[in-house]
Symmetry: D2
């Protein structure tokens, strides 16, 4: 099982994942993505789905038209772990 990030590790996330925000309860990170239209948003979501399935770690996410909001948390561990950091990093790489 994955270990929860320590407070120091959580505080360091701003450097590694500058576009993500730690939620107030410190249990998840989230990022909102804006696209040109639904078509572009959906292409992105399909890429994220493949990454998530490959890592066997899935987002809580929502979509409205051109907007995709992704929250990452490790339920088994009750909060943020390195699995969330890895998935967020891979998602960011899709945008590069």
């Amino acid at each position: 099982m994955s270990l929860l990030l320590t407070e120091a590790e959580r505080n360091g996330l701003g450097d590694r994942l500058p576009d993500w925000t730690v939620t107030n309860d410190c249990k998840a990170i989230e990022r909102t993505f804006l696209f040109r239209d639904f078509n572009e948003a959906w292409g992105f979501m399909n890429r994220v789905a493949l990454v998530a399935e490959r890592m066997d770690h899935h987002p809580e996410w929502s979509n409205v038209w051109n907007t995709v909001r992704i929250a990452l948390s490790t339920h088994d561990a009750g909060g943020l772990t390195n699995r969330d950091v890895k998935l967020a990093t891979a998602i960011d790489a899709l945008m590069a």
Copy 2:
């Protein structure tokens, strides 16, 4: 532009769309779908995406692993219209 459903039409939705619920503010209908796993949920969402794009009417929806929650509302009209009923009917047909 689409017209808002009348109160009588909204009250009649229970017959046509028995698996959907009108939200408290009467401005949307929603339904939650449960699948075996992410794979099955994602296949379904891709089918809904095609239907939505074809109708040019898109859902507000979220996914966590095997669960998909869909809310339908017509933003231009400020509430429920026949476009929502049509999309909900088409989504239900995917499950048949």
Copy 3:
């Protein structure tokens, strides 16, 4: 029903769709797309799928890992029509 492109129109495709090739029988146009990996190829294919469904005109296409080959033809008309040109143009726009 859509009309077949004339020979003059077919000959003019090179200007409008420089990345597409008219097949030897003059009945289809095709283009091969190369991506970084399957993930990027699949995101693209999902975007094409939405465009195709919206236009109600679907490609003959194949995929191997990072390669997507798309052929467009209008079966009802027995060859190339303006519907193929429109879909090819929309697919090209996804790559821009």
Copy 4:
């Protein structure tokens, strides 16, 4: 690296994968799937894509409207291996 199936193993595929055909050169297996329409075919293909990405083993496949043709082969090994059998089995399970 995966080992090529022996001739005996290939001959036994008919029992395990009755809907798949070994190609004449014995280097691949293939199956054609028919769906109601493009929508249903595309939902299926997205499910196969997730399975393939998870197994890190990808099909050679093509689609025309409601038809999906899948060929499986292990290029690194120069023919059929157990990876193809596993992916075919997982694809069949999606149809159950």
